[in-house]
Amino acid sequence: MRADFIRIYKSVHTWTGIVSGMALFIAFYAGALTVFKEPIRDWATPPAAILQPVPMDEVQSLIVQTLANTPATGRGAVVRLQGDQAVPRLEWTVRDPNADDHDDSAARHYEARLDAAGKVQVSEQQPSRLVEFIDVLHRVVGLPVDSDPNRWVMGVISALYFVALVSGVVVLLPSLVKDFLAFRVGRNLKRMWLDAHNVVGIVSLPFHIVMALSAVVFAFHDQIYAVQDQLVHEGRWAQAFAGPRGNPAEAPARNPAEMLTPTKLVRIAEVASPGFEPSGLQYSRVTGPRPTVRVWGKHPEGISPRALGGFAEIDPYSGELLSADYLSGAQSTPNLIISSFFALHMASFGGLAVLWLYFLLGLAGAWLFYGGNLLWVETRRKAQRRGADMPVQRRDTAIMAAATVGVCLGCMAGISLTMAAAKWLPGRVDDLAAWHVGIYYGVFFASVGWAFCRGAARAAVSLLWLTAACTAAIPLSSLLGWLAPGSGSWADGALLGVDLTALAGALALVWMARATARRVRNGPQDSVWSVRRREVAAT
């Protein structure tokens, strides 16, 4: 390949990478945790909120009574299933009609349970929304709300990320055979970081291409559909998703008491997709003209179209299977292809091993962007060095180094601390969700501010220690809950994996903090990662 192309694509890689890098770090770090959204949700749920499951059909009375008297259940009321049992609780959210399509931050959450007398008790809940918040950080690159404009920001970042991937490969291609798996540890630290950046980038390239393209789709699908409906489908797309035809007033009023029992509904899904493992029932508009119940679940050998799984859509009165388009294990080939795009983003295939693989690939991705920024800084340092005198460094490298350290470590520390807080906030504050958001952004902005005040070198060490401490607070909170049950915190042996993972993360961060402390004291003085340069300059 001509050197011209390499040079041009190096510029493309540099600029797309530097613009999108920090946003992508947040998306990948929070995204890696979102892989384990459900275990973290369970980990953060106080024991008082956990109900003992009952045989599945015992919840029918709760479902029937609640749905007969509660017309506004939003997108549907959900019962969670565990094996052949059900959690005796019906949950639904009612969204702010003015809120954005994906924005649940203003939604109101309700749950219905039966009291001792068998009467339905509906209560409004204040869920912590901890895992939803981490998910939103990952969806909109660190912004607080999953709204249209924020998703467009994410879409532009993802598009830049795709171009950065292609340009990075173009730059590396001519020397790929020579450089691939060449990991040159030695005095040239920049070479070593570049080798590591390359090998991680190439090895996880398919994962990154999938993430970049699907993220662009998640950001812009509404707009693409709208344009295509005008130009390609001539209005048939919107028509296909129009509401139920006919006058709802003319439809016969349905009595939820005539609905099939959960066991029968689940059985219909299992017959349609043998091996399907149900995890929930979602009832929608069951008194209206088009009543549906979705039997959600996963097929252990199939792929799931969504992170939560797939579903069979059933008429709860007649038992007719209305749609198997999203039913894991029983999809038509075209639907399977579409679902695979989602599954490949959300790791909803292949079980636990794939979840861990995605967790590690997500962390490796975050590291890739962090390392890319460091390389940008180091490249500009090298160009400045001449003669024996200490050169005056460019301001932009110092700013970029400080921003990288502050944003990346601030994000990690903030997520860790807000997670640990899940064990202390319940019962002490009213608005859990606001506290989680506040703790995250408090730590995040304080870290960014600290990094700019102190400079990258000094701040890196203290922020790494802070991140290690915040992350260690996760297992320590559980430990305290176990040792002192009166403290308000608690421990759950089944979710020890969350604590152990956080502990491993904290230890890794301690190691990084110590290594960085050595570097800033003993490393080359002309580096932004040296504290000595400042001291020399000050004397």
Partner: protein
Amino acid sequence: MPGAPTESTPARRARPVPIRPDWVSKTLAGVLLGLSLALTCSGLLAALLIGMPVPVSGQLAMWLVPPVWLGVLSFVYFFSSGLRAWLWLGGVNVLALGIWWLVRPGGVA
């Protein structure tokens, strides 16, 4: 790009003409003509999948847009100049639109 000077053909010289970065015009060509090409390709796919229910073929057609669009944007810098990028991509767009005009549902064919 109308009005731009026609480029002199680099008739077999000893050293190839340097590739012009032409950041603005190449990037615009990739973003605009890449998007129009992607939408046309999605129209072609939808025409190909005409027997399928619209909710399914429509989703497949939507998923085709970002890879084509960003693929064009990513490789646009291989053109030797911005003008060539516009001419080639414009030509491919016209060609794709022509095919779509022929095969579109309810069209000529």
